[in-house]
Symmetry: C2
Subunit: 162 residues, 2 copies
């Protein structure tokens, strides 16, 4: 933070630029692919994927938020739109009067089943096919270590950091 900042040298700038561009570009490319090949956005896909792994295609909103590591309000806004589009249903939770059970509708099920193959192919073709197995493992090592550093420093969780 002070004047003894360790600035990046040329090579480090190149590495950083590569990472930053990928972080920026991959997510939007993934979103474009989903929106073109299905009727789902990336976030809608995430929610339906979580539901499809739950028994009966049903989860409490709280648990979806926890699984995806999302803020509750973010999920709430999205679920309202998804319910309006007929992708999910919301029912009161019998155990806990505060809660809601979110379940996939038949339309939601159909949407994710239609979207999944293209989504997987996208990942296959753009992450795994271009890399050797050794490179794939190196990528995992790097992403794991970076994520670990961010967690250690408290930057991973949204909300207050200090």
């Amino acid at each position: 933070m002070n004047s003894d900042t360790r600035w990046l040298n040329e090579h480090e700038q190149e590495i950083w630029r590569g990472l930053r561009e990928l972080i920026w570009g991959f997510e939007s490319a993934l979103d474009r692919q989903l929106i073109r090949d299905s009727e789902l956005s990336g976030v809608e896909y995430s929610v339906l994927a979580a539901l499809s792994e739950a028994e009966g295609g049903t989860m409490r909103a709280r648990d979806i938020a926890h699984t995806l590591d999302w803020e509750r309000s973010r999920l709430s806004h999205l679920l309202k739109r998804m319910a309006a589009r007929g992708l999910v249903d919301r029912n009161e939770c019998p155990d806990d009067a505060r809660g809601f059970n979110i379940s996939m509708t038949a339309a939601g099920q159909a949407a994710i089943e239609q979207a999944a193959p293209g989504h997987v192919s996208f990942v296959r073709e753009n992450v795994f096919d271009p890399l050797t197995p050794a490179e794939q493992d190196a990528l995992l090592a790097a992403t794991t270590k970076i994520q670990h550093a961010l967690r250690e420093a408290g930057w991973w969780e949204r909300g207050k950091v200090d």
Copy 2:
């Protein structure tokens, strides 16, 4: 796309999850750091960083959009907000009546100078410090190849992919 989809095995899912979580989490962590330690968002920082490398701290909007690989409308919306906050000025371009010259104000200059050390430290501490030089190079190789695959397949550019 067909029924012969090559699904991901366990290990591949682990690699993919690591990448996806990093892509999701890194950007928001970076944004949080900037917003906490300065008065700038990540996108505002990008614009000011581009301007600070131009002569006189001035660039045409078109060139900023090209440098950052952004849509013009995205830049236009942001510049309107930044101008309202006093971070940039917009002046008509003498050569081309369609264009605008965007320049950093003194406040914009002060904001990025104040934000830069913390930003660099964040990258240093969360990307370079956790990785060995060999791992850094492996990361660059992986991001480069993935980006290349996305470009080849036409997924990199926003807009129609046909």
